[in-house]
């Protein structure tokens, strides 16, 4: 037991600081089924080992003086929840802390527990041995006496590994005022997210199964159906020359490779489909043919999509769930599989123009905040920059507003005038002029944003208001993309907002099914859904104020879907879903 860890936690008032690890079986789409647990206290040296039925009773008090420490603690939190134990009040996730230490500079060995130990030159069990024990745990019981001993020893070895990691990571966390509190704030989120993972998302399993069953036939007919409007496929193959002809005929500019060939990757199609909606069905067809595996979406026996939500996975601190297993991961139309069961409803609440609010509040640009507060920051920019008269409306100046929208949104991503022009269908000279006006109008924001990029390129850390950081290694300035650095504060503070909202909502006993970038999905009974959604909206507004500062609140929009309706994204996925349903019907009625 590191003596310094004992002192550290003792000085911070903890009665116990438990390094804890569960072994559990988790089948795709299921909640974890824990079968053993080992905990060792870094303060008192106490040890607790529980096997199977002994887990029925929580051996901890779970009050403010009991700290739980784990590596990737979301799993431990999910086990607490699955066992019906009270949620930890104080949690420290060394995975989150290791991610924070290495965010930007990276780690040679990866992100797992063994990688963290190797990073600090600490002893570790071999990865092969670890894999063998993980496989034994995943196989499920019954286990022989010898296997049981081995599994408990393996569980204990992870607990000891976490204790070894404490020394370097407590050094990294620091012991100044608020340092540990901010680490525990990250742990608070992880504790809540384990419950969210267990909640899962309600899926129309009957439709899901029918689609999986007929998917090969649907795909074949999908080419015929979608390509009828394009004429690009020949015998099931995408013909680039025909696509080029289509683009010329419809006057659609398209990004090219240095070789001059059309760029045909998924990201290019995704971006272009946002601007030229006529392309969207073609994009979704290509995605369906190339990547979509409907049976990868993990659904448990209770009809709920569950998967690891992977907190702190991205450099901005956002979650990074699997794009194939999470129902929000693949094509937009797949979200139509989300359907609340009988007597149930879901609410989808998202922050409006979250990135603009963050940019305005954190840069202290009064003009930009005033624009956000109008509720239409695009038209407000047009007015502030003198592009439209002061009494202009969305209806009187739709074109100017649309152009300004492209610029305002593009700025947050550090887009250049060429990209803004191609994504919004305006002339590049116009985009250049609007960008110039944006810089002239929101000077305070630009000074702040460019200062952040300078700071990162100098090798100094960028930080959120709750301490999530990124630091680029010295001498790597040329390899960095200043545009993504420009956007980092907006994304990372959006992530802080989301983490707070999830924590507060779960603690308020709201049933959060999933965080989805700048939105949360909530579920409740038909009777409660209005009240619970309103409560969630208030929590999200409160979370935004905690991040943005006093009296700076981000607005939210809410949409409620009641059984038997299903979730749908009318703008982006409705046409494709309708086509898929038609083809499903054909496949089921044609022999």
């Amino acid at each position: 037991m590191p003596k310094s860890a004992k002192n550290y936690f003792g000085q911070n008032g903890f009665r116990h600081a438990w390094s804890i690890d569960f072994e559990f079986v988790v089948l795709p789409g299921h909640k974890p089924a824990p079968f053993c647990m080992v905990a060792k206290c870094a303060v008192t040296g106490a040890v607790i080992k529980l096997w199977d039925d002994e887990l029925n009773h929580c051996p901890f008090e779970c009050d403010d003086s009991e700290l739980f420490i784990a590596y990737y603690a979301c799993a431990e939190s999910a086990c607490f929840d699955a066992l019906g134990w009270p949620p930890p009040r104080r949690m420290l996730d060394l995975y989150a802390e290791f991610r924070l230490v290495t965010n930007g500079v990276g780690s040679t060995f990866g992100r797992g527990l063994i990688a963290a130990l190797l990073h600090y030159g600490l002893p570790t069990i071999g990865s092969e041995e670890k894999k063998a024990m993980q496989d034994l745990a995943i196989r499920g019981g019954p286990w022989s006496d010898e296997e049981r001993v081995n599994l408990l020893e393996y569980c204990e070895s992870d607990v000891d590994a976490v204790l070894r990691l404490l020394e370097p990571l407590l050094d990294a966390i620091g012991n100044n005022e608020g340092d540990l509190g901010r680490a525990l704030l990250r742990g608070r989120y992880v504790a809540a997210l384990g419950i969210v993972e267990n909640n899962g998302i309600p899926i129309d399993t009957e439709l899901h199964e029918r689609l999986i069953q007929h998917w090969p036939v649907i795909l074949k007919n999908l080419i015929r159906e979608v390509d009828a409007d394009f004429g690009i496929y020949n015998d099931g193959h995408f013909v680039q020359a025909r696509f080029a002809d289509y683009l010329c005929h419809h006057n659609i500019p398209w990004p090219r490779l240095p070789s001059g060939q059309l760029k045909l990757d998924d990201e290019t199609f995704r971006q272009q489909a946002k601007v030229y909606s006529s392309i969207a069905p073609l994009h979704q067809l290509r995605h369906a043919l190339g990547q979509l595996r409907l049976n990868n979406i993990t659904v448990g026996p209770d009809g709920r999509n569950r998967t690891m939500l992977s907190p702190f996975g991205s450099k901005t601190g956002r979650n990074q769930p699997s794009t194939s297993r999470f129902v929000y991961g693949p094509s937009v139309w797949v979200r139509n599989l989300i359907k609340p069961g009988p007597g149930r409803a879901v609410g989808y609440v998202d922050w409006s123009s979250q990135e603009i609010a963050i940019a305005a509040a954190l840069s202290n640009d009064a003009l930009l905040w005033a624009a956000y507060e109008t509720g239409d920051p695009y038209l407000a920019f047009a007015k502030q920059a003198g592009i439209v008269p002061i009494n202009a409306t969305k209806e009187s100046h739709p074109e100017a507003r649309q152009q300004c929208k492209a610029i305002v949104l593009g700025v947050n991503y550090g887009m250049m005038p060429n990209s803004m022009a191609s994504q919004s269908g305006i002339h590049v000279d116009r985009a250049r002029e609007l960008l110039r006006l944006h810089k002239a109008t929101y000077r305070v924001f630009w000074a702040w944003a460019e200062g952040n990029v300078d700071r990162a390129l100098m090798g100094l850390p960028l930080s959120t208001v709750f301490g999530w950081r990124i630091q680029m290694p010295h001498g790597h300035g040329l390899e960095l993309n200043p545009r993504s650095l420009l956007n980092w504060p907006m994304q990372s503070h959006g992530a802080e907002m989301m983490r707070l909202a999830v924590s507060m909502a779960v603690e308020a006993d709201l049933m959060i099914c999933a965080p989805v970038h700048d939105a949360l999905l909530i579920e409740a009974s038909l009777d409660d859904i209005d009240q619970h959604t309103a409560h969630l909206s208030e929590i999200m507004a409160e979370a935004s104020e905690l991040v943005l500062g006093k009296e700076k609140r981000c607005r939210t929009d809410a949409k409620i879907i009641r059984h038997p309706d299903r979730f749908e994204d009318e703008q982006r996925g409705a046409v494709m879903f309708s086509t898929i349903m038609k083809l499903l019907h054909e496949a089921e009625t044609t022999k």
Binding site: R15, A385, F466, L546
Partner: protein, 198 residues
């Protein structure tokens, strides 16, 4: 199975509280100075860009009478020392150099034409001076109206931000603007040689 649970030590009054979120907020990340300094490396000399709104600094310390030589084909402006300027009266113009800045905070030096000595009034020069007068208070755009033979003066609607002036004084601005051989300070300057066919 449970073993070796010691009697816990007396707990300290309270542990760090992740639920008291506002107490954990780091306020200094917003105002942290990054420490970089932007060097003024270029100052354009010329009349205002027809597509930009601009203002002129009303401070008398930011204006100076100077002799300039303009090479129209190259779109270049040279400052000429007085003892050299008197030797080329047909080529040199006396102007009032004024500091201007665009809405995008780009500074420039505008050689504002002076009234002609013979009492005749050139409408281009007159309207340019008028624009300079307006630009001391408002954002102004100056557009050539070839049909009328003068500049049209456009004043921006209210709401544009205040002008952002460079921190350098006029002598520093002049040094940057006329660096790189743009100061004719000797009779064998390459531009003079060119004018004389040498």
């Amino acid at each position: 199975m449970t073993d070796d649970i010691n009697n816990p030590a007396t707990p300290a009054p309270s542990t760090p509280d992740p639920f008291n979120v506002s107490a954990l907020r780091l306020n200094n990340i917003i105002t942290d100075e990054v420490g970089t300094q932007k060097i003024l490396a270029h100052v354009r000399v010329g009349k205002p860009d027809k597509q930009s709104f601009f203002q002129l600094n009303p401070d008398p310390d930011y204006r100076i009478m100077m002799a300039i030589l303009e090479l129209k084909d190259e779109n270049e402006t040279y400052a000429v020392l007085p003892d050299i300027a008197v030797q080329f009266p047909g080529e040199i113009r006396q102007v009032l150099i004024r500091l201007g800045v665009t809405t995008q905070a780009v500074p420039f030096l505008w050689p504002v034409p002076l009234p002609q000595n013979d009492g005749r009034e050139n409408p281009w020069y007159r309207t340019a001076r008028l624009a300079a007068e307006y630009a001391e208070k408002d954002w102004v755009r100056m557009v050539a109206n070839r049909g009328a033979g003068c500049y049209d003066i456009k004043i921006a609607a209210p709401g544009l931000p205040e002008p952002q002036w460079p921190s350098e004084d006029l002598s520093q601005l002049l040094r940057v603007a006329f660096s790189g051989g743009k100061l004719i300070d000797r009779i064998d300057h390459p531009v003079i040689n060119r004018l004389l066919g040498r």
